[in-house]
């Protein structure tokens, strides 16, 4: 395995916030529609679903899809 300093720094920075109770991409995906609607309704989904928020902060691909979902919902006049 090859590592460089940049990668090692990135990995080490994720270590302190690692814990057993984290959810994966599937569990995040299951909740994403509800989470997005709450956000657009100003209902603070991060309080109701903190593990989803945490996963979105850690997983770039889920975060990108979440942002895309919000973009789509905005143009579809979600209310």
């Amino acid at each position: 395995m090859k590592l460089n300093k940049k990668v090692l720094k990135k990995l080490l920075s994720m270590v302190p916030m690692t814990h057993e109770g984290e959810i994966g991409c599937d569990e995040c995906f299951d909740e994403l529609n509800e989470f997005a609607e709450m956000e657009l309704l100003g209902k603070s989904p991060e309080k109701a679903m903190p593990l989803v928020r945490e996963h979105l902060d850690k997983c770039g691909e889920c975060r990108q899809e979440y942002q895309a979902l919000l973009d789509a919902m905005k143009v579809l006049d979600f209310k």
Partner: protein, 216 residues
């Protein structure tokens, strides 16, 4: 396209409530429900993709909408009703679009990279079993070597390979999942377990990741 479903009459029904959507999509699906869903997905997909797809956006979006509809028809009964049905359907479609986009991008990039020099390569450090004596190392490089040794000892070959692909080769997780004949959730969990192993071992060794980061 999608002409295998049965029509339920020529009158164009309107779909707005979750119940109407579910009734419209249950077998045999209503052609009007399919068409309204397609229009909905296309509008949403265009808004969420135009920043990333410069060429042939209409064709790409049309293909994704069709693939998404097949997926939605296949699993609409897993919709639990905790949001609007259209939000759930859009979520399915967005994931389909971005998965496809990542695979396409990676294919294009990897073809380009075959003839290019990797600028990170010169900074890369192999984990070595025979390490130089402590007097030859700076404090920083000793710490780096120690963390690398821990990783080599604690992580499985598969975990090391996945970390290599994700963090060093910059391969998207969607593509890594395919390469490893796995799925994104399993790859994320595998990396999470690797982080957890690293955390636990560092605790045992009395190493503080934040302190190390400050020294680097």
């Amino acid at each position: 396209m999608l002409n295998w479903f049965k029509r339920r009459g020529s009158q164009r029904n309107s779909y707005s409530t979750n119940e109407e959507w579910i009734n419209g999509l249950k077998p045999p699906p209503d052609a009007n429900a399919i068409e309204q869903l397609r229009e909905h997905l296309i509008k949403g997909l265009k808004a969420s993709l135009y920043k990333y797809v410069q060429r042939d956006l209409d064709d790409f979006v049309e293909d994704i909408a069709q693939d998404s509809i097949l997926k939605i028809l296949d699993k609409y009964d897993t919709f639990r009703g905790e949001s609007k049905f259209t939000t759930w359907a859009m979520k399915v479609s967005v994931r389909e679009a971005y998965s496809e986009l990542r695979k396409k991008r990676y294919k294009d990039i990897s073809l380009e990279q075959h003839s290019q020099f990797d600028p990170d390569e010169k900074e890369a450090v192999e984990i070595e079993h025979d390490q130089p004596g402590p007097d030859q190392l700076t404090h920083e490089s000793m710490v780096v070597q120690k963390v690398m040794k821990i990783m080599e000892e604690e992580l499985t070959e598969k975990q090391q390979k996945v970390l290599q692909l994700l963090m060093i080769d910059q391969v998207p997780m969607t593509v890594v999942s395919e390469m490893m004949d796995s799925n994104r959730n399993a790859i994320y969990k595998l990396v999470h377990d690797a982080r957890l192993k690293l955390k636990n071992r560092m605790e045992v060794e009395g190493m503080d990741p934040e302190e190390i980061l400050e020294q680097m």
